[in-house]
């Protein structure tokens, strides 16, 4: 066996590939499900926090800023480990999926809150004044006049952050979630052959290539408008 054959046998072993492909495909869908849940929860929570922050209630804002800084400072893996391995000690156990979802949602929430907040504050003060001078209430002004403009500005950074965080779903494999990476690693330990990892890498490329290209398109699309 030449080195080349050994290499092919290790990383592109067709027999192993055929055996573990179904598991990887299951992991593929699980990764998409996890990513989808994180995006929904993270962005919704981030937007909600930014809206609450605009009410300018001092103690509440300190709390929001503290939470945001905390979850931006902590490595996501540490949060996952804390929730998955730490919470059971407090009598509350989460599944690996729930722990990964909650952790990454909190991190995405923290980053998107900052992005939305920056967008809200970037809307000129005159927009608030014009709207309020016609009798619109604070919340009406926020939702009808300010947020639509703020959201438009936030689309490019939001897209980038979302892509980054969904790649973090691979961390779920650490807490026994059979996502793409989890399924691939399981395959490796059963078959004693790294080919499932090759499949996993391909699955990630298939999943994220379109997303990255979409992100690039979004960025140019919204770059020179207004």
């Amino acid at each position: 066996m030449t080195n080349w054959d050994r290499f092919l046998d290790s990383f592109f072993n067709l027999r192993v590939a055929a055996e573990y492909l179904p598991k990887i495909i299951e992991g593929f869908w699980l990764t998409i499900l996890l990513a989808g849940c994180i995006i929904l929860a993270g962005i919704a929570a981030g937007l909600a926090l930014a809206v609450v922050r605009s009410f300018a209630i001092r103690p509440l804002n300190w709390l929001i800023i503290f939470l945001v800084d905390l979850f931006r400072a902590l490595p996501p893996l540490v949060i996952i480990a804390l929730l998955y391995f730490g919470l059971p000690a407090a009598g509350l156990s989460l599944s690996g999926f729930a722990a990964a979802w909650l952790s990454l949602s909190l991190v995405l929430m923290a980053f998107t809150e900052e992005i939305f907040w920056a967008g809200i504050t970037a809307v000129p003060k005159g927009q608030w004044e014009a709207a309020r001078s016609t009798g619109l209430r604070f919340f009406q002004t926020l939702t009808l006049v300010v947020l639509p403009q703020a959201l438009r500005m936030t689309i490019p950074p939001l897209t980038n952050r979302t892509i980054a965080i969904t790649k973090g779903t691979a961390l779920a494999s650490v807490v026994a979630v059979p996502d793409i990476l989890g399924a691939a690693q399981a395959g490796v330990s059963f078959s004693f052959n790294p080919t499932p990892l090759t499949l996993g890498a391909i699955a990630y490329v298939v999943l994220f290539f379109p997303v990255v290209i979409l992100g690039r398109w979004v960025e140019t699309r919204f770059a020179w408008k207004r």
């Binding site: 000129p124 005159g126 927009q127 004044e129 014009a130 709207a131 309020r132 001078s133 016609t134 009798g135 619109l136 209430r137 009406q140 009808l144 006049v145 639509p148 403009q149 438009r152 207004r226």
Partner: protein, 253 residues
């Protein structure tokens, strides 16, 4: 037969002893401003003298530190006053137009009609269209602010304010952000508004317009009203040295 008693109209705007502090900065130092129905009051004065702040106190975009303000009989500083309701009666036009960039001209005008007055969309749009017609921009209803000239944007802003049928209109330097060739259209719209009987308070340095249309000119200096009177008197024969100097300055432009 008794002689017909004249109907004594209470003034639309009554502001008394208005003070405004920004931290240590004392910006308004006891300003009295009473505006009668159908009156057009012009406010001039050097930069920083408090003209904008005074206007913004009238509709409570700023909270005065002291004094009293009633507009159309409503006590603007009373805690019990629904300020959003009161603001429907006070239209405001800003130097920088402040149109909503994500809405068409029609959408800009219709927004408060729907969300403040509670009109349904067809009714709001019909009324918005009528307001745009009054500023001769009915044909631009579907345009976004970015597709309009500065002068057109300002006229849409005027339409947005008058659509609510306010009792008084406040203008804060409505033409100072405009290229000279676009000023005329905005002044014409204001002129028509005046002729329709609107009560107006205008901060502006358009002397020609003041001479032709104002009932009264107020000169503000350092947070106080230094002198006021008919345009001919203020521009032709100012009593104070500061007024003279200021008018000389703007006339040279």
């Amino acid at each position: 037969m008794t002689a017909a008693t004249p109907i004594v109209q209470a003034p639309i705007v009554q502001a008394r002893g208005i003070h405004k502090h920004f931290g240590a900065l004392h910006v308004l130092k006891g300003v009295d401003l009473v505006v009668a129905e159908r009156e057009l009051v012009f406010v001039i004065g050097p930069s920083g003298s408090g003209k904008s702040t005074l206007l913004r106190c009238l509709n409570r975009l700023e909270d005065p530190s002291g004094g009293s303000i009633t507009v159309d009989g409503i006590d603007m500083l009373d805690r019990g006053t629904d300020i959003n309701k009161a603001r429907q009666r006070i239209g405001m036009v800003f130097q920088s137009f402040n149109l909503y960039p994500h809405m068409t001209a029609l959408g800009n005008v219709a927004l408060a009609l729907r969300k403040v007055l509670g009109l349904d969309r067809p009714a709001a749009e019909a009324r918005a269209r009528a307001a745009l017609e009054r500023v001769h921009l009915a044909d631009r209803a579907g345009h976004y602010p970015g597709q309009l000239s500065g002068g057109q944007q300002q006229r849409v802003a005027i339409a947005r304010a008058i659509a609510l049928e306010p009792r008084v209109m406040l203008f804060d330097e409505p033409t100072s952000a405009l290229d000279p060739e676009l000023v005329g259209g905005v002044l014409a719209a204001m002129r028509e508004l005046r002729e329709s009987g609107m009560t107006m308070v205008v901060v502006s340095h358009e002397m020609g317009f003041a001479k032709a249309a104002a009932d009264r000119v107020i000169f503000m200096d350092d947070g106080r009203i230094l002198e006021q009177g008919p345009p001919a008197a203020i521009f032709g024969n100012p009593q104070h040295e500061r007024t003279r100097a200021f008018i000389g300055q703007i006339e040279r432009h």
